[in-house]
């Protein structure tokens, strides 16, 4: 694997499959162990550099690094003396001096991980940058899809029909998923009101539609994105009720899905807005699994960047 994981587009098909395979091997080797820990990254230092609150992503990376026996430093820039603009470079120089082997960065500004990577020698993992990308989320989603559709080690997601619904414009999850799923052979359709699709989406390696009802029957996977209520105030859509009626996944709509189709959500959810509670908690939902898979996939990424082969 390359030095950094900044974009889902950094991964070739072989590399992406290797991450999923490694995650599966790690899961298998931890199965039944009392101490869920591997000695692989003993003596290595992983820094979680979070400029934006995201407890679940931070904990997921922290667990992943600790289960590989790495030393973990959590550097929460939010609310500290670090304020916008004055210190990404200073922070980078500090991490450099501390000899961080890997820096996991979450940042509200698109592109910040690229800048960090130009200032430090260690590996940089993008844990979400602005409205741009979140590659490990895409990997854990792909991992979840591969498992739930009964595909095995070494396989991609060829022919899998994935529908991603909601605020694509502001979604780093959607951007990374489109790139990774295309690499793995899946067919992606983005569904959103036209105001929430990016300019130039027709050049992306996927289809797009404004009509959720038309997109559901053919889908193997439906991924619902979080919709922020602020978008309504900025006139991306008229009211919550209208959004929910046109683009929410309620029980009636979910019933039009193929029997084996699964429903995903990167969390945190607005129940009742983009997804109904009975769907979120129903048998199709992979939402809880996604969280568990996130740790395995992030272990695989850290392992491959810092320690392992492939």
């Amino acid at each position: 694997m390359k030095q950094h994981l900044l974009s889902a587009a950094d991964l070739t098909r072989d590399e992406a499959v290797a991450v999923l395979d490694t995650a599966e091997q790690i899961e298998a080797s931890l199965q039944g162990r009392e101490v869920k820990k591997l000695p692989t990254l003993r003596g290595r230092t992983v820094v979680n550099l979070f400029f934006e609150d995201s407890t679940r992503t931070r904990i997921s990376f922290e667990l992943a690094a600790k289960r590989l026996s790495a030393d973990v430093i959590n550097f929460s820039a939010k609310g500290s003396s670090v304020s916008k603009g004055e210190s990404l470079k200073d922070t980078a120089l500090t991490l450099q001096a501390m000899g961080a082997d890997a820096v996991v960065i979450r940042h509200g500004a698109s592109g910040a991980p690229w800048q960090l990577a130009s200032w430090v020698d260690g590996s940089v993992v993008n844990a979400g940058d602005g409205t741009h990308e979140h590659p490990t989320q895409a990997l854990l989603d792909a991992f979840t899809m591969r498992k739930r559709t009964g595909r095995s080690m070494g396989q991609g997601l060829d022919g899998l029909r994935v529908t991603i619904v909601g605020d694509v414009l502001h979604s780093r999850v959607a951007r990374s998923n489109v790139l990774l799923l295309e690499t793995l052979g899946a067919e992606v359709t983005l569904v959103a009101p036209p105001t929430l699709l990016p300019v130039g989406v027709e050049t992306w390696p996927c289809a797009h539609s404004y009509d959720l009802d038309a997109a559901l029957p053919g889908a193997d996977v439906v991924m619902m994105l979080r919709v922020q209520r602020e978008r309504m105030n900025a006139s991306y859509f008229p009211t919550e009720r209208e959004y929910s009626r046109r683009y929410g996944l309620d029980a009636v709509r979910a019933a039009t899905l193929e029997p084996a189709a699964i429903v995903m959500h990167p969390g945190p959810m607005n129940r009742g807005m983009e997804i109904a509670a009975e769907v979120a908690d129903g048998p199709r939902s992979t939402i809880v699994e996604q969280v568990a898979n996130g740790v395995s996939v992030r272990m695989a990424v850290l392992y491959l960047l810092l320690g392992g082969a492939a």
Partner: protein
């Protein structure tokens, strides 16, 4: 009493000539002038241009002297071949009163490297709410003729109309930063397929074009002079062409960077390339270059925007927009106005960098060139030399140039302000 004899300089048209300068004024031009006891400048091989005039410079003083001062900016201007620069009003305090514009003007005079002509703010504090005292600024020692809220757009159409009308009393011009701010909320780069991929909020071309169209119609309606700052899109060119064909008294400028650089550079996330209006597509650059050649765009203006290191070496979203330009503008004008064989249309270079800007700003002592009786505000360029841009070798206090390592054609060997060297042998005199 100082007398200088410039020997064998090539004016814009015709063969090399000798030029005699006495007390800051060109007194004689002839094939050969023979005189004893005068300072002689050998200008063989050099092109003589009227001293360059910039209508769009950010000098940061008062307020951000850590990024640039009138002195450092003046030196950069002189080295770039300028004899006059217009200092934009978005300083701190804003140049919206006679007091501030006179302060800027007088500081420039004392330094004496270039005429610093303040641009007055159109509205108080650049807030877009009430007209500033435009007449008081016009009547001040600074004789302000150009007014702009640059950095901000005069968005209210009623206020824009009044501003256009009001400055007719003293033959002023409103220079508009065309940006409908309701269409650029949170904007970070050109709105395009690339902005969608990079996850950066887009600044759509229509935000510029709709204001230009509106203001051209307003200028036509009230019969006033309008100047459009830093045109950046092919659509803007079309609108200006259309307005001129209707007889609207509109002029337009383009920056060096919009003539050379495209949005693809943003994919580096290097804030050196962050500028407002943003770098656009290759097709826009082509349209802007064509429009500068055919006269639809009247002039090149630098939008020289120095920024301190901490305002640029940070996250793209937090970085301030703007880049340096005073020391490269002439080279980029030369590049743009050369044909495939490399032959330069020097007349056109002079028009877009000096003659037209001086006329738009109503300066009667600049943009004249080699004319007997005219003030000796001149620039001598060696077309055979070029310069590789080194950010730290620039005279500006800041280093935010996007041109590092690029080879820039044509070297300014001398700049004269009222007959005195401000640049000699390619070096600033003071």
């Amino acid at each position: 009493m100082s007398t200088k004899l410039i020997q064998q300089v090539r004016p814009l048209r015709g063969d090399p000539v000798d030029v005699l300068i006495e007390d800051g004024v060109i007194t004689r031009i002839a094939d050969t002038i023979v005189l004893q006891d005068v300072e002689v400048i050998d200008a063989r091989g050099l092109i003589g241009l009227p001293g360059l005039v910039d209508l769009h410079t950010h000098l940061r003083e008062p307020g951000r002297e850590d990024a640039e001062t009138i002195e450092t900016g003046s030196r950069a201007a002189a080295l770039g071949g300028y004899t006059a620069v217009h200092a934009m009003a978005n300083t701190d305090p804003v140049a919206d009163t006679a007091g501030v514009v006179e302060q800027v003007y007088n500081t420039g005079r004392q330094i004496g490297l270039v005429d610093v002509i303040p641009v007055g703010a159109v509205t108080v504090g650049l807030k877009g709410e009430r007209l500033a005292e435009l007449g008081a600024m016009a009547d001040s020692a600074a004789r302000v003729r150009m007014f702009s809220d640059d950095g901000m757009c005069v968005g209210d159409p009623g206020l824009m109309r009044r501003a256009l009308e009001y400055v007719k009393a003293f033959d002023g011009v409103i220079a508009q930063h065309a940006e409908d701010s309701r269409l650029t909320v949170g904007a970070q780069m050109n709105e395009s397929e690339l902005s969608g991929r990079l996850g950066l909020t887009g600044w759509p071309a229509v935000a510029e074009e709709s204001i230009i169209a509106r203001d051209c119609l307003l200028a036509e309606h009230v019969g006033s002079r309008l100047h459009i700052c830093h045109l950046s899109t092919a659509g803007s060119v079309e609108i200006v062409r259309w307005a001129k064909s209707r007889g609207v008294d509109v002029t337009a400028e383009v920056t060096p960077h919009h003539l050379l650089l495209t949005e693809e550079l943003v994919a580096t996330y290097d804030p050196l390339y962050k500028v407002n209006p943003p770098l656009r597509r290759g097709t826009d650059v082509d349209a802007l270059r064509g429009a500068l050649r055919d006269g639809t765009i009247d002039i090149v203006a630098t939008d020289h925007a120095p920024h301190a290191v901490e305002d640029k070496e940070c996250e793209w979203a937090y970085a301030r927009p703007g880049m340096l330009g005073l020391q490269q503008a002439l080279s980029i004008a030369i590049l743009t106005l050369s044909d495939e064989s490399g032959a330069v249309d020097w007349q056109r270079v002079a028009e877009v960098t000096s003659i037209r800007p001086a006329r738009i700003a109503r300066l009667d002592d600049h943009g004249i060139g080699f004319v007997e009786g005219a003030p000796a505000n001149l620039t001598l360029v060696d077309p055979a030399q070029s310069t590789v841009v080194d950010p730290h070798a620039l005279a500006s206090k800041s280093h935010n140039t996007p041109y590092e390592g690029l080879e820039m054609p044509g070297r300014v060997m001398a700049t004269l302000l009222r007959g005195e060297f401000t640049v000699r042998d390619g070096q600033a005199v003071k």
